[in-house]
Amino acid sequence: MDSLHAIGFYVSSGVLLIGALGVVLLPRRGLRGAALAFSGLGLAGVYYSLSAGFAGAVAFVCYAGCALMVAGPQYRTVEAVAGSAWRQVGAIGAAMLLAVLAFSAFRGDFVSATFKGGPFDAVALGRLLFAHDVVATEAVALLGLIAIAGAAAAWRLRERAR
């Protein structure tokens, strides 16, 4: 990775992490949606600097859609039943997970290879997605269909019960 790509990687990583912290910490749903879109932009930049430009484009579109859904004003607030103590246990668990994963990442510097693909490489990735591993692509498409149909059915049932 040359200097320009490395600078792009670090800047995009900063954008991504700032957006992620915004999603977690910001109080209003509109701000959270904007932070999610911001982190999607950073994720696309990270992917592009890792020579995965097509994956970055797909991720940006998906995260922009997620941001629109999260920022939508029509979702009601559902409070979880977990108490404050369990939330703090979860936060401490997340910190411990970060420590373990960071140690694993530090120990992961044992491979190096030369990447021969292009920065975008949509043709090779499309061949992989729609020819070689088409079952996985169809499975994810089925998941998306089930999710959207399930969401629509849940809304309709709730509206009918009201």
């Binding site: 997620c66 997605l129 999710a147």
Partner: protein
Amino acid sequence: MTAGLVAVFFVACAMFAVGVFGAAWRRDVSAAVATIPLMFAGAGIAFAGVARFAAAGGTHLLGQEFAVLLAVAAAALVALGLGIAGREGNR
């Protein structure tokens, strides 16, 4: 200046941990659902980094393929989670 697989793994694990923290910390279910894409982004960055730095002997794009599928699955799960959480309507 350069960036290697360790830097990619650090960003990936930071994203995953931020997502886990958000899912554990937020009381509101719709806010907790919004952290699912963050966890998936961490996994996708790790996959894309391995495909970039550890694909010896040619263009092995399996990690990039997983990253694409994870992004689509994250969008689907957010839609499903928000649909289950419910819509406000006229109330």
